[in-house]
Symmetry: C2
Subunit: 597 residues, 2 copies
């Protein structure tokens, strides 16, 4: 899609600047105090008990996919690594903690905290942007108990919303199809300033093409998009207000009066489209002319300021009434009803837009398109496209039929599915509230559980087997079939031999004895990499673009039935026979006496 | 409620430090680029059209109260004022905009932007923390069109989530009652780092007593609370791991072995409570002992690590089965069933907690209480309270019966209502996901609409009357009745005389001719104050504490039927006769020909 904002390629000086803005922003928000107080009280109790250096393994995972779906996109890893890298309690942090913690805390503890870093931690994770499934740890953190515990809340905060948002965006991308442009417009409805920034970043990763959020553009190099609001149109009350009316020709430099040209075109168009110019707003025309003069190469206009919605609603009711009469009296054919519509609908916004677009064309410029922010989007987009096509034909301007149609009114996954079903001619959706708030499920419930301490496995039991944790330090493999699709994720104990291509592997349901199957993988992908060890990031991290591509590539390995909107098939997550037996032995050892397990 | 964290009184050096941290944090996120790109493209078009200094009036308001309620708490004003105060495009902002905007933008525009501030703007608002209603502008912004327009998105971002969150918190406070402590525990489920910070701040304003979020404590001086997680308990596998077991007496300094004391008490308690010690976890006991030694004055323990939930579920099923048998056979009285419960439930967490609390008592310390994070909270809290009361009586320790019971598992408004109905003994709720995501309605739909330009009123028409804007610059008054309750909010045109106490005032429904009434107010409150003019904040701003008190005071002026959870009565917002006629004249002038209005 052409838009008014050119795609930018990154030059290196700019990229360096961006890195520094980005770091400044990150560090001002993501810091060790961004945590729950109990992490710090626990840290003190570990310190007092001489347990700080106990070797601990924690898993970060979720139990249910969001949005009634069967997959999740893992995101937020880079932020987690930056957090580890910068982990350090500042002097003012220590000062605050002395103030906030109960009296009687030993001074040596604060001294210890002020020296604490994450350099003894090792962090394993699956690749950012990968599809992920319940119970498979996204991140495994190994290291001294005190620091591994202190990381909990911040890691959860950084992964939960990022993954939820990326998943939500990926779902919008799937229902919209790959040829539709998707723009994130949600800043004003986000959870405060940084909620908006995170939404922009992770919706881009999930498959959106850009955002309206300028700061997100500056910090993350995401394409930013936008034209004007209704207020711009209503700020002009008439054509007398136009202080500048002339525009130079793009090629030959001759100037002409755009307003005059547009008014001529409007009269002409009214007759072509069989509408009257009487009701088109002069203020709107003035606004569009002024906007076209400011952005002759990027003219995109909001066409529904003068109440397309009420007209549509009214029209729809009128049409319905007429159809009822028609069906009863059978006097006129229903095609008459269809012909009636453009007359009413093109009378202001669309008419003015087309007139100004033709005036721009006279001066060597091509308009970009329109935005519709209200009304029946399927119907209006078809109407607008039909109008563009008629003009393209009549004025011998083939590009006119391809003008961009952006829609942006309260759109969610279901709206897009419904529009697809009705048929529409929309090229681009601008999506705000439903995208950024993840209205269908506003939180992903990642948890962070201890699975091993000093080589002793820990298991959390629960009557609800979904809540039983997988004990011990584990590895995860994704097994692929011959058609390239992912078959199953397999959790093993760390000391097991990895599954091998072409060899049969016993995959077991973690809790149901009878559910087991042999799988012969055509490809075996170890899901974990070491991302942080010896106090530094241990991988070359992908760019935002690369993570974004990873999302689509990873989704492609998933069978369609796991991805569909209605009743998707659950993807299987299994344990090795060895891990199965390990879990159930521990369970038995820990089961309370007299309990019905 | 006593908690393990003392309430802090602010000393002045600390307050000064906090202001600087706070400013640093604010400025790193809330900046003029935190906006939608179309604001900047519009700014350029206004600049090109010579309209930058047109005098504009914009209203910021919402159309529907959230959460199926009939009131909203207005919050976010202080952040808006800070934003105005710091409004300035930095060099790197300008550099980025040159890069991001379409080519062909004149250099003089960037020069103009780099000098632009908000000093020519005047901002009126209702007081932060006030109850507010649909269509009453929370904020009115007057000034040169370009800057007033450029403020839109950021003001909306700062008000929308803040108000939604404060309203949500105030609703929790109402259903919980004023004697229950409410703690915000939502950081890990918030929309990223700053979503969490905003949640902490505005839930405090709305009536919460504290947060687990340490950075929010540091930045905003909100009390921070927290004890330990299940991981702390599971990190101990047995009593051998306890490296420190002794604690000095609080008064006389003599040391004793807390573990030994606790084990003696446990044996004793088991007989008092008629339970066995066989099944109480030794790891849990060790963890509690170590925590008590670290925080002898602040001992609060999570008591459900070893699966209270499954026991409860199991128990409930057993009890139900027994009751069925009882009712059929009538062999034993139902009180037997009740007696059966403590035996099962106190066998680990509660038993260990009480034993350690008695050991602490031997050394001169009083424990704080317990946290329950799973299971049937009403039932478990009653059981715990009953246990505490029996111990209080038996050991002549009256304070033991008053130990704090905190509950924290997936709590929402409905859970609290249901707990109230069942009867519970909980003193404090820790609330996370449902609070911070505002799950029942994750966004407040504030909008920002032009209502006047160069003294010409602007009206947005819509077939949906709820979307018709109130044209022109307006004043708002709240009229009170003799009983002190707010009766109605009245919008007037700015040049009208304000309503007077004791004089009858005609209040009209803005759109329905027949709906009108005379009101004789006992008190008239002008809702607007000038908060920003001549480039500075024009009021002494209230502290966070004062805003928090304002919320409760303002809610008190609202009749109970407007506040109730089920089918609350809508509060009335009216227009003066003058404004009514003004709206409808404009409507008529702007109504499209042939429209059924």
């Amino acid at each position: 899609m052409a838009t008014m904002n050119r795609e930018r390629s990154e030059d290196s000086a700019f990229a360096a600047g961006r890195n520094s803005w980005n770091r400044h922003y990150h560090n001002s928000v993501v810091q060790p105090l961004l945590t729950d107080l109990y992490q710090i009280t626990m840290a003190y109790a570990y310190w007092k008990s001489g347990k700080i250096d106990d070797n601990a393994v924690f898993d970060l995972f979720f139990r249910t996919n969001p949005f009634q779906g069967e997959f999740t996109i893992f995101a937020g890893l880079e932020e987690c690594l930056k957090f580890l890298d910068s982990f350090h309690y500042s002097e003012t942090d220590i000062e605050y903690l002395k103030h906030a913690l109960p009296q009687g805390i030993e001074d040596d503890f604060f001294e210890y905290l002020s020296q604490l870093t994450a350099k003894e931690v090792t962090l394993y994770a699956i690749e950012e942007g990968s599809v992920a499934f319940p119970r498979v740890p996204l991140i495994k953190v190994v290291g001294p108990l005190i620091i591994v515990q202190l990381l909990e809340t911040t890691l959860l905060t950084l992964v939960n919303y990022a993954s939820l948002m990326a998943t939500n965006a990926a779902r919008y991308r799937m229902v919209a199809g790959k040829h539709i442009h998707l723009l994130e417009f949600g800043l004003r409805r986000a959870q405060g300033p940084d909620g908006g920034l995170s939404a922009s970043k992770y919706s881009y990763i999930g498959g959106f093409d850009g955002t309206s959020n300028v700061l997100a553009g500056k910090l993350f190099n995401i394409p930013v998009k936008g034209t004007h609001a209704h207020a711009y149109i209503t700020s002009f009350t008439g054509i007398d207000e136009l202080k500048t009316r002339v525009l130079q020709h793009k090629e030959d430099g001759t100037t002409r009066d755009i307003l005059e040209l547009a008014m001529e075109h409007r009269t002409n168009l009214a007759s072509v489209l069989d509408v009257s110019t009487d009701e088109s707003s002069e203020g709107e025309l003035a606004a569009m002319v002024s906007f076209a003069i400011a952005f002759p190469d990027g003219f995109m206009a909001l066409v529904d300021t003068y109440d397309v919605k009420s007209r549509t609603c009214w029209l729809v009711r009128q049409l319905a009434a007429i159809r009822r009469i028609v069906s009863q009296l059978d006097l006129i054919s229903s095609s008459h009803c269809h012909l009636a519509s453009p007359r009413l609908l093109t009378r202001s916004g669309l008419l003015n837009f087309c007139a100004v677009a033709l005036a721009l064309n006279d001066q060597g410029y091509r308009a970009i398109g329109i935005r519709i922010d209200s009304g029946d989007l399927a119907y209006l987009s078809c109407l607008a496209r039909e109008t563009f096509e008629r003009i393209a034909e009549r004025f011998k301007l083939p590009w006119f039929s391809k003008l961009t149609i952006v829609a942006s009114n309260d759109i969610n996954e279901d709206t897009i599915l419904s529009l697809n079903e009705q048929g529409h001619k929309i090229d681009c959706f601008g999506i705000g509230t439903h995208l950024v708030t993840c209205q269908r499920q506003p939180a992903l419930g990642c948890v962070y559980k201890m699975v091993e301490i000093n080589n002793q496995p820990r298991i959390k039991l629960s009557q609800d087997v979904g809540k039983v944790t997988m004990p011990g330090s584990k590895n995860v493999f994704r097994l692929y079939g011959a058609d390239g699709h992912a078959l199953i994720d397999l959790l093993q104990r760390v000391d097991e031999n990895p599954p091998e291509v072409g060899q049969k592997v016993l995959c077991r349901h973690p809790f149901q004895e009878s559910k087991r199957a042999y799988v012969i993988p055509t490809n075996v992908e170890p899901l974990y990499r070491v991302y942080w060890t010896d106090g530094r990031v241990a991988q070359v991290l992908p760019s935002l673009e690369e993570v974004r591509e990873r999302v689509q590539a990873s989704l492609k390995t998933l069978r369609q039935d796991h991805k569909r909107t209605l009743n998707p098939t659950p993807y299987k997550v299994a344990v090795s026979d060895n891990l199965y037996n390990f879990i159930h032995e521990l369970w038995l050892q820990n089961a309370p006496i007299g309990e019905l397990a």
